[in-house]
Symmetry: C2
Subunit: 545 residues, 2 copies
C-alpha cells in the first residue's frame, strides 16, 4: 500500500481531534445561550466556558496531572457537564462512576481504574464512608453539593466544588496533545463477573459526536435534532457519556437542562418550564413518567425521545405516540461509546402500526458504522428481516479493549470485529432488529428461540404487567422457555393455561415459532433489574432455575 502521506510545511497546524475543539468551535456560537441545573442554577455558554477554565485551574492546583484519573459520582448536573470537558481537556481521564453499583463493585471500579481524585456528591458520602479504608489510590476527595455548608463526614474532604471553582482563575491555556489520548473510562456490568472497564480517546469522542449528530440532524422530519432544540438527559451521565448527548448538545451550542436526581414530577416540570424538546432514556424511566400523575397535564407534543438501553416495547411506544411524543429507538452499548444505530421512521408512507414497528426497531447504522450480522458459520445473514445472527461492528469510536483485561479484550475483538453479543435480523431497507442477547437465546432442539420476542407477545396479554423469559434445562429439548410473569392486579385474573393459549394464537397466525408452545409459566411478584434498569436474567436464572 502507498507511502504517499501528505507533506506538512513546518508551520502548518496539524489539527488534532480533541474534546476542547467541540467546546471552542461549536456549530452555533451563541454566548448568551443557557445551561440550566434543575431549579437551582442557570448560566450562559460564555460563563460555562469560563467555568471549564476555572475547573481546569482548580484541578491543576490540586495536583491533577495529565494521565491522572479523576472520578466523578454525581447526579446529572452542570458540574458533571463541566467535568465532561475540563477533565479530558487537561489531559486527565474522566472516570464516570456508576453510582448504582453495589459498594463492593464501586470499590472494585475505583481501584481498578486507579482513580487519583474523586469528585463526589454528598448523597454518596455514606457509601464511601463505609468503604473508605479500602480505596487505595484516591488522593483527594472533593464534595459536590447544592448547599454551601460542608457536610459532616468521616472522609477528609479537600474542598467543595463550587468554592474551588469560584476561587480559580478563568484563564487557562488548554494545550494540544495526541488525539489518541485516553479521555474517559467507565465500567460495564452487562456481562458475567466483575465490572469491565472500557475507555475512549478524544478522537473517538469527537467522531462519535459528529456522526451521531449527522445521523439525527439529516433526518428529513421525524426524530431530528437541530440548533433550536432544548436538550435534557434522562439517562444518567455516568451511563456511557449519557449516550454522548452532552457532547452533542455542547457542540451544537443548544440550550441544555440538567435535572439532578431523577424524580418524575421534577422531570416533567422541567420539560414544561424550559421547553425541553430532546431527551433520551431507558424504557423503564419513560414508563415511570407515563405513570406519574403529572403526565396527563404536561404538554409533550414537542418532545423527541431516543429510547435505548433496552428494546422499546410496542405498548410503551403506543402510549407515548398517543401523547404526541416523537419516540424512537437508538442502539449501542458501553463498549461502543455507545451509539451504533438509530431507528428513524424514514420517508415511506406507513400506517400507524407499521410506523410503531419501525420506531421500535433497533435502527439503521450511523455513518461510518460498518455492521455485519454473522450467523454461527460466520456468514452474513440474508437481509430478509427473519434470519438472525450476532451483530458485529467496526466504527471509529469502539473501545479498543477492556482496561487491564487482555483475555476479554481479545474475545470482544475476535476476528477484527467487535462482537456485541446481540442477536438480530436485518431487513431489505437496512433496519436491524435485535431479537435477543446471544446468551439469552433459548436453544430448543437445535433451533434458536428469541426470549425477547416471546416476552413481547406475552406482554400483549392484558393481564400481564411484566414478563421475563429464560431458558430452563430440559432432557428432551435441551432447553425450554420459562416465562416469569408479573400479573396486573387491576386486570382480569389469569392462569398459566390462558397465557399459553394467548401465545398459541400467535403461533397459529405464524407470528411466533411453534416451539414456544413448550413454555412453562411461573407467576412472580417482580422482575429483578440490573443497576441500569435492564432485566437481570443472570439473577433470574439463579433465583428460579
Amino acid at each position: 500500500m502507498p507511502d504517499n502521506l501528505i507533506p506538512r510545511t513546518p508551520s502548518a497546524y496539524a489539527y488534532p481531534l480533541l474534546i476542547k475543539n467541540l467546546l471552542f468551535a461549536p456549530v452555533a456560537d451563541n454566548p448568551d445561550q443557557e445551561i440550566i441545573y434543575a431549579d437551582r442554577f442557570r448560566f450562559t455558554y460564555a460563563e460555562f466556558k469560563q467555568r471549564v477554565a476555572k475547573l481546569a485551574n482548580a484541578l491543576t492546583d490540586l495536583g491533577v496531572k495529565p494521565g491522572d484519573t479523576v472520578a466523578v459520582m454525581d447526579w446529572d448536573s452542570h458540574r458533571y457537564l463541566e467535568c465532561f470537558f475540563a477533565v479530558p481537556m487537561i489531559g486527565a481521564v474522566l472516570h464516570t462512576v456508576n453510582v448504582r453499583l453495589l459498594p463492593e463493585q464501586v470499590i472494585y471500579t475505583i481501584d481498578h481504574a486507579e482513580d487519583d481524585f474523586l469528585l463526589i456528591n454528598s448523597d454518596f458520602l455514606p457509601l464511601i464512608e463505609k468503604i473508605k479504608g479500602r480505596l487505595n489510590t484516591v488522593k483527594h476527595f472533593i464534595v459536590l453539593q447544592d448547599k454551601e455548608e460542608l457536610p459532616k463526614t468521616s472522609i477528609t474532604l479537600t474542598g467543595e466544588y463550587e468554592a474551588l471553582v469560584g476561587a480559580a482563575s478563568d484563564q487557562f491555556t488548554f494545550e494540544d496533545f495526541d488525539e489518541n489520548t485516553r479521555a474517559t473510562t467507565f465500567y460495564t456490568t452487562g456481562t458475567t463477573g466483575m465490572p469491565k472497564g472500557v475507555y475512549f480517546s478524544h478522537r473517538q469522542l469527537v467522531l462519535h459526536t459528529l456522526c451521531t449528530m449527522t445521523m439525527l440532524a439529516t433526518s428529513a422530519e421525524q426524530g431530528r435534532i437541530h440548533q433550536q432544540d432544548v436538550y435534557m438527559p434522562i439517562t444518567p451521565m455516568f451511563h456511557v457519556h449519557a449516550w454522548g448527548f452532552p457532547y452533542i448538545a455542547t457542540t451544537m451550542g443548544i440550550k441544555q437542562v440538567y435535572p439532578g436526581k431523577y424524580v418524575p414530577a421534577n422531570l416533567l416540570q422541567l420539560i414544561d418550564r424550559e421547553k425541553v424538546t430532546f431527551s433520551h432514556c431507558v424504557p423503564t424511566i419513560l414508563h415511570m413518567l407515563i405513570t406519574s400523575p403529572e403526565f396527563a397535564t404536561t404538554d409533550l407534543s414537542n418532545w423527541k425521545v431516543v429510547i435505548g438501553g433496552a428494546s422499546l416495547p410496542k405498548k410503551l411506544c403506543k402510549s407515548a405516540r398517543a401523547k404526541g411524543i416523537d419516540i424512537f429507538t437508538g442502539y449501542g452499548m458501553s463498549e461502543t461509546c455507545p451509539v451504533l444505530t438509530i431507528a428513524h421512521v424514514g420517508n415511506q408512507d406507513l400506517d400507524e402500526d407499521a410506523e410503531i414497528e419501525r420506531r421500535c426497531k433497533t435502527g439503521r447504522p450511523l455513518p461510518l458504522v460498518q455492521m455485519k450480522i454473522l450467523d454461527d458459520r460466520m456468514q452474513e445473514v440474508e437481509p430478509d428481516g427473519t434470519a438472525v445472527g450476532e451483530i458485529t461492528v467496526r466504527a471509529p469510536w469502539l473501545t479498543q479493549g477492556y482496561w487491564k483485561g487482555i483475555r476479554n479484550s481479545e474475545n470482544l475483538w475476535h476476528g477484527g470485529y467487535l462482537h456485541t453479543g446481540d442477536v438480530a435480523n436485518i431487513d431489505a431497507r437496512g433496519y436491524v432488529n435485535i431479537t435477543d442477547r446471544i446468551k439469552d437465546v433459548i436453544k430448543i432442539g437445535g433451533e434458536w428461540l428469541s426470549s425477547l420476542e416471546l416476552e413481547d407477545i406475552i406482554n400483549l396479554h392484558e393481564s400481564v404487567s411484566e414478563v421475563a423469559v429464560i431458558g430452563m434445562e430440559d432432557d428432551k429439548w435441551s432447553e425450554k422457555p420459562l416465562a416469569l410473569v408479573v400479573v396486573d392486579q387491576t386486570a382480569e385474573a389469569v392462569d398459566a393455561k390462558k397465557i399459553i393459549q394467548h401465545v398459541k394464537a400467535y403461533i397459529d397466525k405464524g407470528l411466533m415459532n411453534k416451539l414456544a408452545v413448550l413454555m412453562k409459566v411461573k407467576f412472580v411478584d417482580a422482575i429483578d433489574k440490573t443497576s441500569v434498569g435492564k432485566t437481570d436474567k443472570k439473577l433470574l436464572r439463579e433465583k428460579y432455575l
Copy 2:
C-alpha cells in the same frame, strides 16, 4: 503533556478515516436511490458501488498503482463522481484538472502534479493535441465521452472509459491504508504567478464532509440539507471538489444529478424534471440562470442554493428570493478544501432587508473551524461588525502546504494559522463578513477602503450592469479608487458625475467611508474574469493602470 494513549488489543480494528468508508457506510443506505447523468444515464447506488469497483479494476489493470496520480478532465458527470471515489480508494491521487485554464497552465499543472494517467473528455482532446509532445509524465490517455465510437485524434488513446468499466469485474477489495494518504490534488489560480497545487488527505476529506454536513443539517429550517434532498452541482467538479458536495451527497445516500456541461436551459430543465432541491454555484452562474428565458416558467420554490466563490450581491439575492429560492452564502477557498463558513439566517425574526443582509454575509464558522480575524498588529479585531482584519484559520481539513512549493507554503501557514488573504469583520453573533482581498484593499492615506463594499454600492445604481474597483496610484493619497463600470444599455444614460453622486448619498448616510468620494470612474465594455468566473483584478490593473 500526557503519554496516555489508548491501548489497543491486538485483534482490535483501528478504524482509519478513508473515503471508502463514506461510500460503504452512508447515512441512509438505500440501494435503489438514483444517480443521474443529464438526460443520458441513470443508475442506482447499488450499481454505482459496482461501477466504482469496476473502475478500480479497470485502472489497476491499466497499471495504476498506489501513489500514482490520475488526472481527470471532464464536465460534471457520473464518471467524475466515480473517479472521486475509485481513484483515492485504490490509494492513488485524483488530480481534478481545471479545464478552463489556458493551455500553458494546463501543461504546467499536469507536469507539476506528475500525472501518470489522464482521463479526458473528448471535448478537450483538441487542447491536449496542441500540447501533447510537451506532457512528459502521462503514460495513458483514456477518453470520456457520451457516444460509443472513438473520436478521431492524434493522441494515442488507451481506451474509452465506459468500455473499460463495462469490461471490468465488479469485485474489488479496497485495502486499508494510512488516513493521511494524499487523496486529491488540484491547482489554484487565485493569486499571482503560475497555479499553485493544493492537496488533501483521506482524513481531511472525511472530516470536511462530516462537518459541512453537520453545519447544514442542524439548521432549524433555512438552508438545511436532509435525507430527502436531491442534489445537483452547478460548480464544476474540478473546482475544489465541487465544494465537497459530491462527497456529502454520497455519504448521505441522497439522489444526485450531474448535469454535464453547464447550459442554463438544461440546468433549469433538470432541476424541474428531477426535482432538484439542493445546489451550489458562483453568483455569475446564478445570474446566467436568472437571465435565461426558461427561468420565468421554472418552479424554483423548493430549491436551496449555496453561493460561493465570490460574495453574493444583494441585488442577486433579492432576485432569487423573489423567486422563492432559499439562497445563502458559503465561504472557503482552494486551500481550505474548501468550506469554512455558512451564512444561515438563524432563528431571529428579521425583516426582509435584514434577512437579505444575513444571507449575503460570509457566514459563521463550521464546527471545528477556529477562525481568528487579525489586524495588522496581529490582534483579534473587536466583534463589532466594523473593525476589519485578515481571516486566519485552523481546521482539520486545510492543505498542509503548496505542492512542491516550500516558500509559499510557509507564507500560507505563517504563525501556525492559515492566512486566507481575505479581509473581514465579525459581528457579535459570530457572522463574518468579507470586505475585500488583502491585495485589493485600497489604501488611502493610511486607511483601508474595501473595493468590494464600494463595488456593492455602485452596483446598486440602476444604470450599472457590472463594476470593478481597483486602486490607482496617487501622489497625495498614495491610492485612490478607480471604478471600472459596465453600463446597462437598457437603463437610463449615466455619467461619472452621477455615479459619484450616487456613492456620495451613501457616504452622507454614514454607509460608506467618506474617502470613497476620491474615486474616479471609467466606463468599459466588460469586466475581465478569471477561469473560475471571478473578477480578474490582476488583469484589470494591467489593462487600466
